[in-house]
Symmetry: C2
Subunit: 228 residues, 2 copies
Amino acid sequence: MNGAKGVNGVAGAKGAEGVNGAEGAKGVIKLLLAEDQGMMRGALALLLGLEDDFEIVAQLGNGDEIVPRALETRPDVALLDIELPGRSGLDAAAALREALPECQVLILTTFGRPGYLRRAMEAGAAGFLVKDGPVEELAVAIRRVLTGERVIDPGLAAAALSAGPNPLTQRERDVLSAAVDGATVADIASKVHLSPATVRNYLSSAIGKTQTRNRMEAVRAARQNGWL
Amino acid sequence: MNGAKGVNGVAGAKGAEGVNGAEGAKGVIKLLLAEDQGMMRGALALLLGLEDDFEIVAQLGNGDEIVPRALETRPDVALLDIELPGRSGLDAAAALREALPECQVLILTTFGRPGYLRRAMEAGAAGFLVKDGPVEELAVAIRRVLTGERVIDPGLAAAALSAGPNPLTQRERDVLSAAVDGATVADIASKVHLSPATVRNYLSSAIGKTQTRNRMEAVRAARQNGWL
DNA sequence: GGATGGCCATGACATTTGTCCCAGGGCCTT
DNA sequence: AAGGCCCTGGGACAAATGTCATGGCCATCC
């Protein structure tokens, strides 16, 4: 069996996770990493762990654990995915700013939706990265946000401004969200506790505001813009 | 500025990419990595590069480049994502088996859809991993497929068998694929060059076979099973 | 106080969608 | 040759969907 050492090397590095122990160093940057895709999470954790002034104090795949674990481990920077099981990363970001203001939030997402960026900023995030760019960006961004700087993809910022704010009302969002994957009007109505007729009205107005032709196009457009 | 060395360390490792040069070592395993998400691709490349018997001879984010680059760089194992811009990873896998039979294909995907696994096996893939499990799996899997072993998530294999084969005909797949994100019957008809009446017939039969209530549910179900 | 705008609901209406018939042609297997 | 399956179309019909007008209730803002 050739190269088994390498595998162990990889597996061994996982020990960086866990309780934050008695870390005496001064300049160490403590990181929390929330990302649902296991392989991505593991890979990022290992990479960031290679930087000698970074320390991953928590890594998790569930949105609900973010605030508790952050309070427990007191990270300097929280790297949050948006689409997570349980609480959304955007939700958690807002709560985290509240609960632990000294912790900078860096949103790391697959989709550069304008509305996501907008909401991230409103939630008090210090940075917004898409998972496309090179990995090197990540370490750079982490150091930047610690200086108080904001880190945002320039092209995305422009798109967010040009796209304007979310035109949908709360109810329209509710109904549209419930309309994903082909739910019928009756389904939506019972899910949202509204009259079927009302549901159709909201759908109609959402379709109008998104300038689309049917509910599915509306859902798509709304998602595209990060309005859901 | 603290710890800049670390960043450079990360960036520097990228040099592993490129032409395969005059590598004298005997036991080196040459890898091709196709993955569209830049950060994931970079992270995996770096991690795998850390193993001393691995060498990444090509990394790319486009399905169309897979076969050409493989012919150029002659990897021992190709790690392919399924959802890629250009040619699908499954397509490319089949073509690669044809063009470079000595190269083992390892499918690496976000979604553990039963139909994907089935198609991957039919395309001659040697392994099928989902991006959830730990990163360590990856290195292990790579070494396994080189011994001729097949690497498949056991739970997924069971699901693939119980789900049965794809019940949809070619046309039904075409029409259903064209029906994503809310295209109207007329749209689909013109996209597939069929009569609107025919389109509605195919949609109806697809809905029947998937045991759903409308086209969107059918699309969802078909996607879920990897039938598209 | 009045205007505005979101929220909730109805009824009426045209259009779209989904279903069930039907029919012909092509291809493959028995 | 016969049967089966897929591909392609059409017509008719019921149901679902999208639109519009109208109404009342409640907030907030000027």
